[in-house]
């Protein structure tokens, strides 16, 4: 009964803003993807690339950290819905790819967070894991939000 209450509360909460829980997931993931693009851009600047952007410094670093934090928070309702309600499913290629990449997503995220503070690893480790994480979110977005917007509906 408690589990039912949690799930119904989640659904009630989400549908105060969105038309359905699926729509909520699609938009939250889209917002996270935009922030991840900010992450990739600011990380590139921190590593001395994209020199047309403002000088690297505390502001860029702060933007990188906060875009990551907010992106992570935006993915949590999606994680809750996908993992605890829908579970691991493989009815077709799209869903199977989404399920497999989604299963690895938070593992790579955890590794990335730890690698940031680990000085014993080679310098290329962090951007490699960071780009892997961003690519994974891209795949997750393409196999869910993009699919929803193009085959179901584009709206809240």
């Amino acid at each position: 009964m408690l589990l039912a209450d949690v799930s119904e509360t989640y659904t009630d909460l989400v549908t105060t803003v969105f038309s359905s829980t699926i729509a909520a997931k699609a938009w939250l993931a889209s917002a996270a993807l935009v922030l991840v693009l900010v992450q990739v851009t600011t990380a590139a600047r921190i590593y001395g690339r994209l020199t047309f952007l403002p000088e690297r410094g505390p502001a860029i670093a702060r933007l990188h950290r906060w875009s990551g934090r907010v992106a992570f928070l935006l993915t949590l309702p999606v994680f809750f819905h996908c993992v605890t309600i829908l579970g691991f499913q493989t009815p077709d290629t799209r869903v199977a790819l989404h399920a497999v990449v989604g299963t690895f997503f938070y593992g790579v995220f955890a590794a990335k967070v730890l690698i940031v503070r680990d000085r014993s690893l080679p310098r290329w480790a962090l951007p490699t894991v960071g780009l892997t994480l961003a690519s994974m979110l891209g795949v997750l977005w393409l196999t869910s939000s993009f699919w929803y917007f193009t085959t179901v509906r584009f709206g809240l």
Partner: protein, 114 residues
């Protein structure tokens, strides 16, 4: 094993934990009781509904220009199944079938329960 392995070990543990949680589907029992009766999946049904039915019945069955409001309409499974299979008014028969039909009927019953 050096400290450099720690991020990858923690990451692997998180992957295993996520997979276990997904396999457990801890909140699946909270799906409305209609699922158990109808054999459909209310969450997949929601997706089918948004794709096939919402253009007339409105997002989430809130009512549209063509189709009536289904939320809290008090429809039972037999009524919804008959409407889906045989059509009703301007609604053509057989819009969905098979697994999609069971899923969408389950979803509609769940939202139409007052």
């Amino acid at each position: 094993m050096g400290p450099g392995w720690r991020p990858f070990l923690v990451g692997a543990a998180v992957v295993v934990g996520t997979f276990a949680l997904a396999q457990a589907q801890v909140f699946e029992p909270s799906v409305p009781a209609a699922s158990a009766v109808l054999g459909g999946d209310v969450y997949r049904g929601e997706t089918v509904f948004q794709r096939e039915c919402a253009s007339c019945h409105g997002p989430g069955g809130e009512g549209g220009d063509v189709g009536p409001r289904l939320v809290a309409a008090g429809l039972d499974a037999a009524t919804v199944t008959a409407a889906v299979q045989q059509g009703r008014g301007v609604m053509p028969p057989g819009l969905v079938s098979g697994g999609d039909e069971a899923d969408v009927v389950t979803y509609v019953v769940s939202i139409s329960t007052p």
